[in-house]
C-alpha cells in the first residue's frame, strides 16, 4: 500500500524531489477521505448491496420453509423463473402494473401541475388551501386504503349515496367488479399522489424568474403560450425528477392494494408487488417471490438511471 502510493505519486506528478513529510501528508489526506466515505460505503454494502445480491441468488434457489432450519437451498437453475413466466397471473399482474403506473402518473402529475400553477396566483386563503391539499400525504397509505374501501363500498359507501342524491345512478361497483376495480384503485392512488406532485412542482415554479412572465405579457403572449414557452421548459428538470420518483414509488405498489382489494376481485388488481408478497409470504415460495422482486428492481433500476442522468444535467 505505502509503496504504491509512494511510487505512483512521483510518476503522475513530475515534481522534482518530494519531501518525505509532504508525501506523508498526502497519504494521510487520502486516508482521511476514505475515512469519511467508509461509513457510507459500509452502510450501502450492508443494507443495499447484500439484500440485492441475495435476492438475485435466491431467485435461482429452491428456497422453502425447510431452508430456514437446515440452511439447505439447492440451486435449481431457472426453475423459479420459468415457473413465474408460465403462471397466467404473472402476465396479468405485469399488465395491471403498467396500467396502474401510467394511469396514476398521468393523473397525479396532471392534477398536481394544474394545482401548482393555480396556487402561484395570489388570492385569499391561498396558503390555507395549499396546506389542506397536503392532507392526503400525511395519512398513512394503509389508513387511506381502509377509509377509501368504506367510501367506495357499493351499497353503503358515501360516494355512491352522494352520486345517488345527485341523480347520477349510485350503484357503481367501484371495487367489486373486475372491470372497475383497477380503475378505482388508480383513482385512490392519484388522490394520494397529488400533494407530492403539487409541492415539488410548486417549488419549481417559484424558481422561475418573474421578469420572464412580465416580458411575455408585454409581448402580448397568451396564457397558454406563456405556459408552453416559459413555464414548461424551465420546469423541465423538476418535472423529470417528479415523474421518475413518482414512477418508482408507484410501480412497486403493495400496501394500498392489499388494503383496498387484496388483489381481487378475481385477481383483477394483482400487481407485481402483490404477486411478490403472495409468492413469498402466503405460499412461502421465496424463490418465486424473489424472481418477481428482481423484475421489479430491474424496472426501477432502468428509471433510476434516468433519474441520475436528469440530476447530473441539472447540477451542471
Amino acid at each position: 500500500m505505502s509503496t504504491t502510493t509512494a511510487s505512483a505519486a512521483p510518476a503522475t506528478r513530475p515534481a522534482p524531489a518530494t519531501p518525505v513529510k509532504k508525501r506523508d501528508t498526502r497519504r494521510r489526506r487520502r486516508l482521511s477521505q476514505w475515512g469519511f466515505i467508509a461509513p457510507a460505503v459500509v452502510f450501502m454494502l450492508l443494507f443495499f448491496g447484500y439484500p440485492l445480491v441475495r435476492n438475485v441468488v435466491m431467485s435461482f434457489q429452491d428456497f422453502s420453509p425447510s431452508t430456514f432450519f437446515d440452511g439447505k437451498s439447492p440451486f435449481n437453475g431457472t426453475d423459479n423463473w420459468s415457473k413465474v413466466f408460465h403462471d397466467d397471473l404473472f402476465g396479468k399482474a405485469l399488465w395491471h402494473t403498467i396500467v396502474f403506473t401510467i394511469g396514476s402518473l398521468i393523473g397525479q402529475f396532471g392534477i398536481g401541475l394544474a394545482l401548482a400553477v393555480f396556487f402561484t396566483k395570489r388570492f385569499p386563503l391561498n396558503g390555507f388551501l395549499r396546506s389542506l391539499i397536503l392532507l392526503p400525504w400525511l395519512v398513512p397509505m394503509v389508513v387511506s386504503g381502509i377509509v377509501w374501501r368504506r367510501i367506495l363500498d357499493q351499497d353503503t359507501g358515501v360516494l355512491n349515496s352522494f352520486l345517488d342524491t345527485l341523480g347520477l345512478g349510485g350503484h357503481t361497483p367501484w371495487l367489486t367488479s373486475p372491470g372497475m376495480a383497477l380503475f378505482s384503485v388508480i383513482m385512490v392512488n392519484i388522490w394520494i399522489g397529488i400533494p407530492f406532485n403539487m409541492v415539488i412542482l410548486y417549488g419549481g415554479l417559484q424558481e422561475i424568474p418573474k421578469e420572464l412572465y412580465e416580458a411575455a405579457s408585454l409581448d402580448g403572449a397568451s396564457a397558454w403560450r406563456t405556459f408552453r414557452s416559459i413555464t414548461l421548459p424551465l420546469l423541465k428538470p423538476v418535472i423529470t425528477v417528479v415523474l421518475v420518483l413518482g414512477f418508482m414509488s408507484t410501480v412497486k405498489i403493495l400496501d394500498l392494494i392489499l388494503a383496498l382489494t387484496d388483489g381481487g376481485p378475481a385477481d383483477s388488481t394483482q400487481t407485481l408487488g402483490t404477486l411478490t408478497y403472495q409468492n413469498s409470504f402466503v405460499q412461502l415460495d421465496f424463490g418465486a417471490g424473489a424472481v418477481v422482486g428482481n423484475i421489479l428492481i430491474l424496472i426501477s433500476a432502468v428509471f433510476a438511471v434516468f433519474y441520475l442522468r436528469a440530476n447530473r444535467s441539472e447540477g451542471k
Partner: protein
C-alpha cells in the same frame, strides 16, 4: 490540520465498524435461561390481556417466568421462520391451525406426545386438527367454526322461521331483502376469510378441496351465485372480510350472516341487537352440516434443548388445562377443545349450543392437503371471485384445480 484529520478518521472508522456489528448483532440474540417465551398473534387488546393473565397463572403454577410476544397473525409464520434461521426460536408458538402443517413439514415442531402431553378427553376431530401426518404437534385450547347468525327481531316481525336447508335459506333471504337490508351477508373476499366461508357450502354438498372441479363444488358455488342473482346478497360481498360482514349485520344492513363466535364480543356491545345462532343450512334436509374447524394450536418448536422443550410442553399443558380452557372460552366465546370442559361451557352459554354442535362435525382444512393448503386456498379464492363477478362456475373451478395442482 493533519492532526485534526487524523482525529476524524478514527471516529469514522469506529462508526462504520459499529454500524456493521450492530447490524450483525441483530441476527442472533441470546436467550435468557429463566425466562420462557410464548409467541402468539394476540395483538388485540382483549386477547393480549386474557393471555397475559393465563400466563401469569401458569408462571406461578410452574415456578418459572413466561413472557408473551405478540405479532400480527399474518406474521407469525414468517417471524417464526426467521427466528428458526437465527436459532432464537421461542419456547412455544401459537400457530393458526391452517399454518401449522407448513412449519411441521419443514421439520420445525416437536411431537407433543413424546414430551408427555396426552390427548385424553379430546375429541378425535380436534386431535386431528392439531396433527400433521399422524403426529400430534399442536394442542388447541379452544376451537371455532362458522354458524348462521340471525336477527331475531327481523325474523319474528316477518313471521319467518330460521332456515335449515339451502332452499329455505334462499327463500328466507329473499323475503328479508327490502330497502337497505339484505337477506344475508357473507364474506367472499380475496383472502383466507372468503375461503373459510366457502368451505361449509362446499363440504356440506359433498365437495372436496382435492377435487375443485367436481360438480358438488360447482353446485355450491352456483348456490352463492343464486343468492347474488336474487339480490339477497350484496355485490360488495367479494370485497368484504368477516369483520366487514359483522359490521353490516350490526348496522342492520343484513338480516342474517355467516360468521364465527369471535364476533360475539363485538355483537354484544350493541344492546338493541337481539341475535340468534343456528347451524349453517344444508343442501337437502337430513344432510350433515359440515363446517370448517378454525382456531389456533400451541406448538413446541424444535430447539434441540430437551430440558427447555419439556418445560415448554408443561406450559402448553397448563395453558390448555380444563380450567384454563373454560376461562379462555368464556372470554373469547369459542368452544373448549376438551370434552369435559366443553360440557361445562355448554351449560354456561346455552345460546351458543348450535356452535358446539357444529364443532362436533367440523372438518380441518389441512387434514387432506396439509402444507398444500395455501395453493388450494389461493386458487379457490380466485375461482369463486371470478364466478361471483360473472364467469361460469364450472370454468372458473376447472382453472382453479389446474392452478392448485401446478402449485402456482
Amino acid at each position: 490540520m493533519t492532526a485534526a484529520r487524523r482525529r476524524a478518521v478514527i471516529p469514522l472508522t469506529v462508526v462504520s465498524v459499529l454500524v456493521a456489528s450492530a447490524a450483525l448483532a441483530g441476527c442472533g440474540s441470546q436467550r435468557d435461561d429463566d425466562v420462557y417465551t410464548v409467541l402468539n398473534s394476540s395483538t388485540d387488546d382483549s386477547y393480549h390481556g386474557w393471555d397475559a393473565a393465563t400466563l401469569k397463572r401458569c408462571s406461578a403454577r410452574l415456578g418459572i417466568t413466561i413472557e408473551q410476544q405478540s405479532v400480527p397473525a399474518s406474521q407469525v409464520m414468517t417471524k417464526s421462520l426467521r427466528m428458526a434461521s437465527s436459532k432464537s426460536l421461542p419456547d412455544v408458538i401459537q400457530f393458526d391451525a391452517s399454518e401449522m402443517p407448513t412449519f411441521a413439514e419443514a421439520g420445525g415442531l416437536v411431537d407433543l406426545k413424546s414430551l408427555g402431553l396426552s390427548t385424553q378427553d379430546i375429541p378425535k376431530g380436534i386431535v386431528d386438527f392439531g396433527s400433521y401426518k399422524g403426529t400430534y404437534y399442536g394442542a388447541a385450547r379452544t376451537v371455532n367454526t362458522l354458524a348462521l347468525f340471525y336477527n331475531k327481531d327481523v325474523l319474528k316481525k316477518a313471521g319467518l322461521a330460521v332456515p335449515t336447508t339451502w332452499a329455505e335459506m334462499q327463500e328466507t333471504a329473499k323475503k328479508l331483502t327490502r330497502g337497505k337490508q339484505y337477506g344475508i351477508a357473507l364474506s367472499a373476499g380475496g383472502a383466507e376469510d372468503g375461503v373459510f366461508q366457502f368451505t361449509p357450502f362446499m363440504w356440506s354438498n359433498g365437495g372436496d378441496e382435492t377435487d375443485l372441479d367436481s360438480k358438488q363444488v360447482a353446485d355450491a358455488l352456483d348456490y352463492w351465485k343464486g343468492l347474488l342473482k336474487d339480490g339477497s346478497l350484496s355485490k360488495s360481498t367479494v370485497n368484504w372480510t368477516q369483520a366487514d360482514v359483522n359490521d353490516q349485520f350490526m348496522a342492520g344492513n343484513a338480516a342474517m350472516m355467516i360468521n364465527g363466535p369471535w364476533q360475539v364480543e363485538t355483537l354484544n356491545t350493541k344492546k338493541s341487537l337481539h341475535w340468534g345462532i343456528a347451524q349453517i343450512p344444508v343442501p337437502r334436509a337430513g344432510d350433515d352440516s359440515v363446517g370448517p374447524l378454525g382456531g389456533a394450536v400451541l406448538t413446541v418448536p424444535r430447539t434441540d434443548d430437551t430440558a427447555r422443550e419439556k418445560t415448554a410442553a408443561k406450559i402448553i399443558g397448563c395453558m390448555s388445562s380444563e380450567k384454563e380452557q373454560i376461562t379462555y372460552a368464556r372470554n373469547s366465546w369459542m368452544v373448549p377443545a376438551n370434552e369435559k370442559a366443553a360440557a361445562v361451557w355448554r351449560k354456561e352459554v346455552p345460546e351458543l349450543d348450535a356452535l358446539a354442535d357444529q364443532v362436533a362435525t367440523a372438518r380441518s382444512r389441512t387434514a387432506k392437503v396439509g402444507a398444500g393448503w395455501s395453493s388450494v386456498s389461493l386458487a379457490l379464492q380466485s375461482a369463486f371471485q371470478s364466478a361471483l363477478t360473472g364467469q361460469n362456475s364450472a370454468d372458473a373451478l376447472k382453472k382453479a384445480q389446474a392452478r392448485a395442482t401446478s402449485g402456482n
